[in-house]
Amino acid sequence: MQDEVVKNIILGEDDNYIINVGPQHPSTHGVLRFEVSLQGETIKKVIPHCGYIHRGIEKMSERLTYPQIIHLTDRMDYLSAHMNNEAVCLCVEKALEVEVPERVLYIRTILNELNRIASHQLWWCAMGMDLGALTTFFYGLRDREKILDIFEESFGTRLIQSVNTPGGLMQDIHPGFQKRITEFIKYFRKKLPEYDQLLTGNVIFRERTEGIAIMTREDAVQYGVTGPSGRASGLSCDIRKIAPYGAYPRVSFKEVLRTEGDTLARYKVRIEEMYESMKILEQLTDNIPLGDYTAKMKAVIRLPAGEFYQRVETARGELGVYIVSDGNKTPYRIKFRAPNFSNLFVISKLAVGYKIADLIAISGSLDLVIPDIDR
């Protein structure tokens, strides 16, 4: 055992320069540590260390009822909070075989897409900032504010919505909901091309990202990289297409796929996904059917004994919720297959041979949310 520990501490050869990027570092966007072994500025080895904000959500959930678990899932990937909520709700609804009203499906899907745009906006801010373009941060947040206002008007919460509950929603949407979304789409369609001019087209940005850290499709599958990062490598992994849920079967949208697999491709997939999300929103917003905002549920939700698995596409990839129930009102075991957990470790393959500045760009392009890795 002791020998093993010693073996693990030695990272590379003696003359390697080892630095810790994190846990407190401007570009890890949270408490994540990369142990980087350098030669000059070239990276020879990257070892990600996580666990700095492990809160034991899975253990906590074993003592909570299903509606209570939902508020904890918000705190995993806080940028796609609604998708996380929905994953648990869908899993519980599937287990109980509850038919959810049409209206709920539509609203959930709209919230999903709004959340996805908000998440990608924040990613864009942070990606620009990682590369040293600080102004992007403010432009992205400025536009994200409009989405948060939509959430706040209807549900009173901003970053995390806490509005889903097994069977539907906690409260109905505000009468001004649709109008605000329409306004937002009109506004954002004007602003999104500015993102392209400011960053995407920029020659420095291109130099920094094009051809950097190419992830092949095989790598993506092997490492389980999903979401926009996986789709940039040509891996068709959009759960909205593979196993549709919510109102996704009713809308037409394109699964954004690119084949380059480099940092620029991962960037472009997300930018294009914002356009696609706006398309979905346009199709749904004006067609929300009338009806109840929740299905009739029992006061205490008990799942039948058995195992249930639900896949959901969050802004960062595939979220899997695996519930093992023994018939009680609390789950016997709940497991969240977090998208960032799988996406993180590919960095130790991608970053090798590139400069330390590229490591920052790569981790930015993978769009990691640290609480989701640790849970």
Partner: protein
């Protein structure tokens, strides 16, 4: 026309001070007293200008980013930087374990002295120049490159890996970009036929070099802007600092007033290169003239040369801030590629062209 400019000639004033000083004490002491006076004036000027530039940068970046910027301390937040300065003065100077104490402490001073020395030979107006060397351009280029020694020492002595990477980057960067700065200044030196800054300005009395020198001068100006931004370690070339990569690069371990020195020196360096660009390419304190004579030119003459100088410098500084708040940062190898593959060949070609143009007398 000459009359109006003469009203703003400061050499009469400075000579009068010189005379009155020499009347009351021996010439040696008089010179010493002048040094002290000039030193004090520059110290105050340096501090005020540094504070103002920090404020200006914060306001410019705020407006670019749809924000208001500092607006709490004083009207429009103009005292914000003073409050920051007081805060920095009161902060603890964190001692670093295993740091090279001597080098660690003198590094900020080297950086600030280098910029202080350079400012001495900037001509603010006719006669308003502390040192009018006959090799002024050379002096500024030489002195301003001293600053990198301070940055290297700061990075080396901090005993921090991030700092060391930042310092090494800075060394590579400044050494390469110095070439471009020197060569682009050389174009105007070839045009003007002198290295004395006051004479370069006098040679622009009938038009600024950026207008007179055709395309080569314009090219040289753009190259100078890029290269000098790089030499002052400002974004998009702030690799030595590289906030998102190296936390704060070479000054990661510095706190309190030592950090403020680096901060101030960065802004002063920006002012120096901007004023050098103004002096060499934009006619220094010369007013803007179109053609000869005319009402427009007369009105322009009434604006004091100091105002002209600071307005032009301000515009150049704004352009540099504009760069910083728009572009992402380059990677170290791209930075060197830009210099050795693009700027240097363009510059060399440019200077050959200028030499040819001057030989044929094809400039105005």
């Amino acid at each position: 026309m000459i009359l109006v400019i003469d009203v703003y000639d400061f050499s009469g004033l400075t000579q009068a001070i010189d005379k009155s000083l020499k009347a009351v004490m021996s010439p040696g002491w008089a010179t010493f007293a002048e040094y002290v006076i000039i030193g004090l004036i520059f110290l105050i000027f340096y501090a005020i200008l540094g504070l103002f530039l920090v404020y200006a940068e914060r306001k410019v970046c705020a407006f670019i980013q749809n924000r208001l910027g500092p607006n709490r301390v004083g009207p429009l937040g103009i005292f914000q930087t003073i409050a920051d300065l007081i805060k920095l003065l009161m902060k603890e100077l964190v001692p670093i374990k295993n740091a090279d104490k001597l080098l660690f402490n003198i590094a900020p001073f080297i950086v600030i002295i280098a910029s202080f020395m350079a400012i001495a030979s900037i001509p603010f107006a006719r006669g308003l120049q502390a040192l009018d060397f006959n090799i002024g351009v050379f002096y500024i280029v030489a002195v301003s490159s001293l600053g990198v020694v301070g940055i290297l020492l700061a990075g080396w002595s901090s005993n921090s890996k991030y700092s060391l990477i930042g310092a090494m980057r800075s060394g590579a960067q400044v050494i390469s970009y110095e070439l471009s700065v020197g060569l682009s200044l050389l174009t105007v030196v070839v045009f003007a036929g002198t290295m004395q800054l006051s004479e370069i300005i006098e040679s622009q009395a009938n038009g600024w070099w950026i207008f007179k020198g055709h395309v080569p001068a314009l090219t040289a100006f753009i190259v100078f802007l890029i290269a000098s931004t790089a030499e002052t370690n400002r974004g998009p070339f702030d690799l030595a600092e590289a906030e998102s990569e190296l936390t704060a690069g070479f000054h990661t371990e510095y706190s309190g007033i030592r950090f403020a020195f680096f901060f101030l020196a960065e802004f002063m360096n920006m002012f120096i290169v901007a004023s050098l660009a103004t002096t060499v390419f934009l006619g220094g304190w010369m007013p803007l003239h179109f053609g000869t004579g005319g009402v427009f030119n007369r009105i322009m003459d009434f604006i004091p040369p100091v105002v002209w100088f600071f307005v032009k410098t301000g515009i150049v500084i704004y352009i540099m801030m504009w760069f910083k708040w728009t572009f992402p940062r380059l990677r170290i190898d791209q930075l060197l590629t830009l210099e050795w593959k693009y700027l240097l060949p363009i510059n060399l070609f440019n200077i050959t062209l200028v030499a040819f143009l001057t030989l044929m007398g094809w400039h105005f």
